[in-house]
């Protein structure tokens, strides 16, 4: 087995996930939030591939590819929304989009 131990991957994945989660919670720009979501997804992908390697199976890699496909689709929708907001001269600030208030 070459490369670092599995712990390194887990820790890196956790750091990436926490970074992404904090970004989603703290930032107000939807573009950044989208970016943070991508980071979280990739943290998960990293863990999937690492575990797949550890156990010697291909399931995790297949899963990671599916996640990438879904993430790509999601980015399309998200970016489309953001571009539409920009065209309408709406402030790019999620705290101001409160019309769904109960």
């Amino acid at each position: 087995m070459h490369g670092p131990d599995i712990q390194w991957y887990v820790v890196l994945s956790a750091i990436l996930f926490a970074t992404g989660a904090l970004g989603v919670l703290l930032r107000r720009n939807p573009l950044i939030i989208l970016l943070s979501v991508e980071i979280m997804l990739n943290a998960a992908n990293l863990l999937l591939i690492a575990m797949s390697r550890l156990h010697g199976g291909e399931d995790g890699q297949i899963f990671a590819i599916s996640v990438m496909a879904v993430a790509a689709s999601e980015v399309v929708v998200g970016l489309g929304l953001i571009v539409a907001m920009g065209r309408r001269q709406v402030d790019l600030d999620v705290d101001k989009l409160r019309t769904l208030r109960g």
Binding site: V24, L25, R28, V94, R98, T99, L100, R101, G102
Partner: protein
């Protein structure tokens, strides 16, 4: 023999189905003829079955036939079984014979009605139900027929559905009959519990002897019989049932259906003999009914209601006979009563038909002068009803009365009641005859009387009434207890009598009964015929029919009405209404409070998600 029994049963059903399915495709007349032909066919089949039975030796006359297993429940199997024996063949002949005459009569009576087809479909359904009742080979089929005759009776009483009183009468009949059906069903449950079967033979062999269970079973069956046969205390529906067309009154509420209770007691006599208290109760109820109905009939002014009360009274005699154990005599009276009571109703129907449907005897007064034929057949019917020699009622009624002498002091009391009843019968029957058929026609009659093509009524009505008149004269000669008794011998294997009055008692009773009957006629003649004596003022209790309707109104309607109002005010409004309102308030307030959590801030939702995930993670790690 069994084939003929099936044909007899299914022909009326087929005719009802054909009339219903064809609907307006066939002319109204055709419906009438289909129904008439099917009932005559049923009678012919019954006669064939009778002839086949006749040719066999007495020990081998009963036969059962099962077409398929009708109902299976666990270990219990009830077949669609017909039982053709000496008793059911007698009933089949009476039902289909008198029934076919009455249906033929209806062809003329119902001519020109808007919904003739519906009438004849109902009539055929009734005949099928009644034949199912008498031919059914187990108590379950009997109960099915029992319920279906109740339904047909309901439909036919309410035939004039635009008349509110007819609908009310139909409902009343149905509810009171349903009460009897329910007690009968309970008795059947007890029988299943204690014998595990409902076939007649197995039930009679295995049912408990004496004790509370036997009494309860007999009481339940008696409840059904009392409701169907309009005996005390479930009798109030029968007079109201006269709202139906006259042929219906003749067929269902005089000749056949209301006598089903007598058939039930005779058929199930082993069960009643095991509970002699209940059997005595049946005789006592019969005696009470015949007295009360006779008294009420004295003051009624509606021609059909007078005859209806006389029906109740005559069925009272049959109950006396069946309750005392004189089963063949009860069946004999059932037969002759079917003849002369159908005759009375149909003859009254001719008069009513000729005078634009009027039923009040004060308005019909003197119609006999214009209708000599009707007058004479009505006289025959009345004489048979009072029991004057040699008309049919004489032979059958007197044999019932004399059998009371063989039953100790209880029998003596009933004997006296029966004789008083015979006296009352003489008065009310001939009060009706003298008022309606003798004397000068009233102004109303003169104005409204119309002849039918030069006759008193359509031909189909005249010949059927004539046939019944002949039967009412000669029908009784079938059996004269002291001298010859073929009916008793015929029924002996199925229902042998348990009382045997001596010949001397029979002769004396006949003489006394004729004497009191003639005395009653004499009283009626003095008051209503010759008008020598002023008519006494009617007691209010009689005009109000002994306040039975009022009693039921107070006991059942008012109490339940009061109970319902009380429950509404004290239970429904505070408890049910209040709790429902509280549920509404809780959910309204709760959802309003909860909606505050939806503040529209996407980041707060994300925070909730993340913290939820964190909590879950901690929980899972901790559990591990």
């Amino acid at each position: 023999m069994t084939t003929a029994a099936w044909v007899c049963l299914l022909l009326p059903l087929a005719s009802a189905a054909v009339i219903t399915v064809c609907g307006t495709l066939i002319p109204r007349r055709a419906a009438a003829y289909i129904s008439t032909l099917s009932t005559f066919g049923a009678f012919a089949a019954a006669a064939v079955a009778f002839a086949e039975m006749w040719s066999k030796s007495p020990g081998h006359r009963a036969a059962t036939t099962t077409s398929w297993t009708w109902l299976s429940a666990g270990p219990y199997h009830f077949g669609f079984t017909l039982l053709v024996d000496q008793l059911s063949i007698v009933m089949m002949l009476i039902v289909s014979g008198v029934g076919s005459l009455i249906v033929a009569y209806s062809v003329g009576y119902m001519d020109g009605e808007d919904e003739e087809r519906r009438f004849f479909a109902y009539m055929s359904t009734f005949l099928f139900s009644m034949l199912l009742l008498v031919e059914g080979g187990n108590l379950l089929l009997l109960l099915a027929g029992w319920g279906m005759v109740g339904l047909s009776s309901y439909l036919l009483i309410g035939y004039y559905q635009e008349r509110a009183s007819a609908i009310a009468a139909a409902k009343k009949a149905f509810v009171m009959n349903a009460f009897g059906d329910a007690t009968m069903a309970l008795a059947l449950f007890l029988l299943i519990q204690h014998t595990g079967a409902l076939g007649y033979a197995s039930v009679f062999a295995a049912s408990p002897h004496g004790g509370a269970v036997a009494n309860l079973i007999a009481l339940g069956l008696l409840g059904g019989a009392v409701a169907k046969s309009a005996q005390l205390p479930l009798h109030t529906w029968l007079p109201d049932a006269m709202e139906g067309p006259t042929p219906v009154s003749a067929l269902i509420h005089a000749a056949t259906m209301v006598t089903a209770g007598v058939y039930l007691i005779v058929r199930c006599h082993p069960l009643f003999e095991k509970a002699y208290v209940i059997e005595d109760l049946a005789a006592g109820l019969g005696a009470a009914t015949l007295l009360m109905a006779g008294l009420i009939a004295l003051v009624q002014t509606d021609i059909k209601r007078v005859i209806a009360y006389s029906t109740m009274s005559q069925i009272g005699y049959m109950f006396v006979g069946a309750g005392l154990g004189a089963y063949p005599n009860a069946m004999f009276h059932l037969m002759t009563h079917a003849f002369f009571k159908a005759l009375l109703f149909l003859a009254a129907g001719i008069a009513i038909h000729a005078v634009v449907g009027e039923q009040d005897i004060r308005k019909l007064a003197g119609v006999g002068k214009l209708m000599p034929f009707t007058k004479w057949v009505f006289l025959i019917g009345s004489l048979a009803l009072v029991g004057i020699f040699p008309f049919a009622g004489f032979f059958s009624k007197d044999s019932i009365i004399s059998s009371a002498l063989d039953h100790g002091w209880y029998g003596d009391v009933i004997y006296a009641a029966c004789l008083v009843g015979a006296f009352l019968t003489g008065i009310y029957a001939f009060r009706l005859f003298f008022i309606v058929f003798t004397g000068e026609p009233s102004a109303f009659t003169r104005e409204h009387f119309h002849r039918h093509h030069g006759q008193e009524g359509p031909t189909s009505m005249l010949w059927t009434v004539g046939t019944l008149g002949v039967l009412s004269v000669i029908g009784g000669l079938l059996q004269f207890a002291p001298l010859w008794h073929p009916l008793t011998d015929w029924l002996a294997p199925v229902a042998a009598p348990i009382v045997e009055p001596t010949n001397a008692e029979e002769w004396i009773t006949s003489a006394v009964a004729i004497a009191v009957g003639l005395a009653g006629i004499a009283v009626a003649w003095a008051i209503y015929g010759a008008r020598r004596v002023a008519a006494p003022r009617a007691l209010p209790a009689l005009e109000k029919k002994f306040y039975w309707d009022e009693l039921y109104d107070i006991v059942w309607y008012r109490t339940s009405d009061l109970l319902a109002r009380g429950l509404y005010a004290f239970v429904e409004l505070p408890l049910i209404g209040g709790s429902l309102a509280a549920v509404g308030v809780v959910f309204g307030t709760g959802s309003r409070e909860l909606s505050l959590a939806q503040n529209g801030l996407v980041r707060s939702y994300a925070l909730a998600l993340a913290s939820g995930l964190a909590v879950l993670t901690v929980v899972f790690l901790a559990v591990r």
